[in-house]
């Protein structure tokens, strides 16, 4: 896209290719390019550089419209529930978040509510050891809501600042598993009124159009309040978040850029859009 000066069919084709291969989605890409085409027809756009900056501006507006600070939490603990489909990066993201909160001199407690998958509890315990954070856990196979209940009671008694809850990966098409999340949310609200205060959907940046349906369904059953876009250190661009922003108005809180404890960055919309076209 670098050297092109005039606005011609080739330029629009190249822009369409960039948007679609970034997983922005064919409908969203078509709508954006249609608006551009109309402005070009009405001679409202001078050259290729202006077309590109118009698209960037449009995408920026979509993403910035979702930005809002997380809800104010009256008294500790603040409860963060982490959800998402299998393998998206939830447990690793929790390890990174624990480290971040601790660096802000806050006390943190982790809740190992993935009682289903092989060695899920052990995986979270290792993150707990790495970050110097205690993990509340029970036997594999126990009721996730029961572990959650334990963790929140402990957090309340000890006046812990943050509780981060790890949940089992689940496909949004499984109604019994989505109902389990709803039950966890209700349990949290009973022990700590107003909780969970944040429900983070961890989305794998390699996910295609199915990411939008994931966001819809998880929001329905667990009240998602923000997104973490993981694995952005790969070659996938994560463009599906644009459609999610438009339809569900969900802010992107963080991006995951690797497998180490510090590989979590606050979301920067300008940088993100820049990389869509890189």
């Amino acid at each position: 896209l670098q050297g092109r000066k005039e606005i011609d069919a080739d330029l629009l084709d190249e822009l369409e290719y960039a948007l679609i291969t970034a997983d922005v989605g064919v409908r969203t890409a078509t709508e954006i390019l249609e608006t551009i085409r109309q402005r070009v027809d009405r001679k409202l756009v001078a050259d290729a550089a202006e077309v590109k900056s118009l698209i960037r501006q449009h995408l920026l507006e979509v993403l910035q419209a979702t930005e809002r600070p997380p809800a104010e939490v009256g008294e500790p603990p603040e409860v963060v529930l982490v959800v998402g489909v299998n393998g998206s990066g939830k447990t690793t993201t929790i390890g990174k978040l624990a480290s971040r909160y601790r660096a802000g001199n806050r006390s943190v407690l982790l809740c190992a509510a993935d009682t289903f998958r092989a060695a899920a509890i052990e995986q979270l315990e290792i993150w707990g050891q790495r970050t110097g954070v205690e993990v509340i856990r029970q036997q594999p196979g126990s009721d996730p809501s029961a572990v959650l209940f334990d963790a929140l009671q402990a957090a309340k008694a000890r006046r812990i600042d943050y509780v981060i809850v790890d949940t089992a990966g689940r496909l949004h098409t499984k109604s019994n598993l989505m109902a389990e999340l709803e039950k966890m949310r209700r349990t949290a609200g009973r022990v700590i009124p107003g909780s969970p205060h944040e429900v983070l959907l961890v989305l794998d940046a390699t996910t295609g159009q199915n990411g939008l349906e994931q966001a819809r369904k998880f929001t329905e059953s667990s009240g998602v309040t923000g997104i973490v876009l993981a694995k952005l250190d790969g070659t996938a661009k994560g463009g599906i978040v644009v459609a999610i922003a438009r339809e569900l108005n969900l802010p992107i809180r963080y991006i995951g850029v690797g497998e180490k404890v510090d590989d979590l960055l606050p979301f920067d919309a300008e940088k993100f859009i820049e990389s869509l076209f890189a």
Partner: protein, 293 residues
């Protein structure tokens, strides 16, 4: 859905004349949108549309099928052509044990699929031994050990001095020879195709073990990136087959078409759940129906 949209496109065409460039143009646009929404890669869609156009031009509108049904039939045929009809089996080595490497991006389902493959092999008269060479992910080796206990199939745990992937895998092969296990399934760490160091690790592993199968495990919900990662793994390692996981969700799975297109390697198995019997052989017509929605 696509067939309803195409029916609308062709409703003025019922039973008369040919599929012409004009009416095909609109139909092809609908098909293109459907395939892109199903996560088929931009370039693969372009090629597919081109071959559908070629086939459809000058086709007499048969009275048995409506024009939209006819076009869908052509689209399906071109897609099945790409996907192929490979039989879901693993290539065995001339001398046991056969080595199978399980590779792919982070979180795609390799460890779970290793367990599923072990179960499938054992139900098909083989005696598999699993080993995890994921020395990075917290509790990765533990995960495979727990799986081994669940499905009652052996996992090589590794001696204390075996700390590198090559050492662990070689020791597992020795163990297989000594205990009469005829297949060694090597679960590797998830990695990015752009991580030179980790891709080199896989090349060294391949060199040391001489696997007859290198299975690329890909998530069914992968979008346009499926082409990049599969292509790179294939260029650097030479994959011999693909396992598409999490097909029990509602992702359309267009990545499968893209991966097959760019690597030319067969789709061997489909993962349809988290339990270890949730592995199906690949059915091309089922995958095509799903992609077309």
């Amino acid at each position: 859905n696509l067939s309803e949209k195409l029916q609308r496109v062709f409703k003025n065409l019922r039973g008369e004349g040919k599929l012409t460039a004009e009416n095909m143009e609109v139909a092809l646009r609908e098909i293109r949108v459907a395939l892109l929404e199903a996560d088929v890669h931009f370039r693969v869609v372009k090629q597919l549309i081109e071959s559908v156009k070629q086939k459809a031009m000058g086709v007499e509108v048969l009275t048995a099928l409506s024009p939209s049904q006819q076009v869908i039939k052509i689209v399906r045929e071109e897609m099945v052509k790409i996907l192929g009809t490979h039989q879901s089996k693993l290539r065995m080595a001339n001398e046991p044990p056969t080595i199978v490497l399980v590779v792919g991006l982070q979180g795609s389902g390799k460890t779970t699929s290793t367990g599923k493959l072990a179960r499938w092999l054992s139900k098909n008269d083989h005696s598999p031994l699993m080993v995890s060479v994921d020395i990075y992910r917290p509790a990765a080796r533990q995960q495979l050990s727990v799986i081994g206990r669940d499905i009652r199939l052996p996992v090589y745990e590794g001696a204390a001095e075996e700390t590198t992937p090559v050492e662990l895998a070689r020791a597992a092969r020795r163990e297989a020879m000594q205990t009469g296990r005829d297949v060694v399934l090597v679960d590797t760490a998830g990695r990015l195709h752009i991580d030179d160091q980790l891709m080199e690790e896989l090349r060294l592993l391949k060199e040391a073990l001489g696997p007859t199968e290198i299975l690329f495990v890909a998530d069914a919900m992968t979008g346009q990136d499926a082409v990049k990662s599969a292509d790179e793994f294939h260029k650097q390692l030479g994959i011999t087959g693909v396992i598409l996981t999490k097909m029990d969700g509602d992702a359309r799975g267009g990545g499968a078409l893209s991966i097959r297109f760019v690597t030319g390697q067969p789709l061997k198995f489909v993962g349809i759940g988290e339990k270890f019997d949730a592995l199906e052989p690949f059915h091309p017509d089922r995958v095509v129906s799903r992609i077309l929605g």
